[in-house]
Subunit: 318 residues, 2 copies
Amino acid sequence: MEKKYVVGIDIGGQTAKIGIVDARGEVLAQTVIVSNKHTDAGEFVDYLAQTVNTLIKQTDVEGQIRGIGVGAPDGNYYTGEIQGAMNITWCGDKVIPFAEMLSKATGIPVSLTNDANAAAMGEMTYGVAKGMKNFIMITLGTGVGSGIVIDGKIVYGHDGFAGELGHTCAVRHNGRHCNCGQNGCLETYASAIGVARTAREWLDMSDEPSSLRGIENLTSKDVYEAAKHGDQLALRVFKFTGRILGESFANFIAFSAPEAIVLFGGLARSREFLEDAIVDAMNENVVFLWKNKVKLLFSSLKESDAAILGASALGWEL
Amino acid sequence: MEKKYVVGIDIGGQTAKIGIVDARGEVLAQTVIVSNKHTDAGEFVDYLAQTVNTLIKQTDVEGQIRGIGVGAPDGNYYTGEIQGAMNITWCGDKVIPFAEMLSKATGIPVSLTNDANAAAMGEMTYGVAKGMKNFIMITLGTGVGSGIVIDGKIVYGHDGFAGELGHTCAVRHNGRHCNCGQNGCLETYASAIGVARTAREWLDMSDEPSSLRGIENLTSKDVYEAAKHGDQLALRVFKFTGRILGESFANFIAFSAPEAIVLFGGLARSREFLEDAIVDAMNENVVFLWKNKVKLLFSSLKESDAAILGASALGWEL
C-alpha cells in the first residue's frame, strides 16, 4: 500500500501534540497528551506509541504512514536522541535514544530534531518562509530557540546541535545569569521569562507608577496586558526587548545573509509592541549591505498546527 | 584535449597572485603583478589577462585550462562582481563585473568569490580543514574576513555576501568606529590595524614603560616584535585581542556548531601570543555543549600558495 501520510509529534514540557498529516500539509487528525506525568522515558514512550497507534487506527490510515517526525527540546537529528532536556520530566540530564525507542514501540521509522528546527521546517514547507532557501527561525517562548536554514536545508553542524542562538551573548558585561551557566545570553532578555524579568527589575529600580506594581509572580502576559492598556513602563519593556533582539539579529545576518528572520512562539504574539523596535535596531546595527533589506516576518501558521506540521515535514525524509 | 589544470588568482589591495594548479594541488607555475597601479578596471583586467595567457603559454598548458578561480575582496560568487571594494584602486564604490570581463579577455570560464571564502576552500581542499564538513575560516589581516563551511559547502546566503563576521559587534557600548560605518565591529579590535590601535590607545592612556613608546606609525608588526622581546604592554595587547576573538568565536559556534575554527592571515602568525587567550575566552563563553570541543586551528598552507590554491579550487567547479 502506498505510504502517503506522516505523523508529526511536537513534544513540549507540559504536553505532546500528535497529528496525522497528508502531503499537502492538511492535518487529518490530531490529539494532545500530557508529557509531564512520567519520570521514566520508557513509560512515556509506550503511552505515546499507544496514542499514535490509536489515532492511526481511528483515522483509518493503518499501513499508510511513511514515517514519524518528532520535534523535541534538545533533540539531535544525527543521533535521534534527546540529550539533557532539563524541562522534560522523563529526561532531565539523561540521554534518551528517543527515535529508536519510539520506532520500536510503533513499528514505524522515526526521525527527530529539536523543536526550533521543526518549526523552521514547518514555516519552510507550509508557512511564511515557503519558497525561501535562506532564513533564520527564532522561537520566542519560555526560552529563545533557533532553526537556521541555508540553501533550503536545516543547519545541523558538526554534532547536530547548531542553532543555539538563544545562548549567544547579548549583554557582555554584567549580563543576566542564564540557566545554561553563562551570563548575558539573549534568552535571559528576549524570552517570555526575560520580559517578566526586565519588568520586575525596572519596577524595583524606580517608583514610576505602573499597573504592574503589586502583581505577584509577574509574567510576560501581564506585561502584554499592561502594554495593551497603555502602561508606559510595560511599553518600554517591549521596546527594550525588541532592541536587544534587533541588535542580535544584525549579528546573525552577518553570518548567513538570510532573506528573512521569522519569529514564532508565544512572545511573538506581542508583535504590535516589538516589531518597530526590532526592525529599527536591526537596521541600525547591521552592515550597510543589508540595511533595510532583510525581512522580519511573523509566523502565519496556527500555533497548534505549526509544531505538528514542522515535525511532520521530517517524516517525509524517511 | 583534456582540461586538467586550473588557474587560481588572488587579488589583494597591492598585488595579484596568479598560479597554475593541477588536480593534486601542485602549483606548477606562479607569478605576481601589482594591482594598485590602475584606476580603470578594464585596463587592469587586460593587464591581468595578458599575464595569465603568458603564464599558460610558458607552462605549456594551452587549451588545457578548465577554468579560472578568483578570490577578491567583496567578490560575489552569485553575480561574479566585485562590489564596492574600497581598498582596490580600480573599484572603489563601483560594481565591477569582474568574472565576465576576465572571461572575455582570456577566453576561459571564470568563477569568483571573496578572498576569505577562497581561503576556506583552500584549507578544505588542501589544508588543515581537509576532510572537514563544518568549519569557520577567519582571516586576520588588515581587516577580519570569514568563510563559513557547512556540510562541505561555502555559505553564500541569499545574496552571496554571507560571512561578514568581521562586522559582527564585539563591543556594544563605546566600541571603536569601523570603516563600515558601525561601531564596535570585531575587525576594529582583532585585525592588524586593530592591534596597532589597541597599543596606541594603551600607550596614550598610561605612562607604563614600553619599548613601543616613540615609534611613529606603530604597526601590529612592531607590537609583535616588542612581544617577542618580552614587552609587557605588547603581550597584554595580544592577550586582549585574543580574548575579544575568543568571545566572538563562542557566538559563532552557537550558530553553526563547527568542528573547528581555522585562523589564517598575517596576524595569525602571532599565534604564540594569541592562542591561549583565544582558547580560554572561547571555552569560557561558549554554551556547555561545546566547551573544550571545538578545535582552534592555524592554517598550515604556505601563505603564498594558500590564496592561489583557494581560488583555484573554484576553477574545478567550472
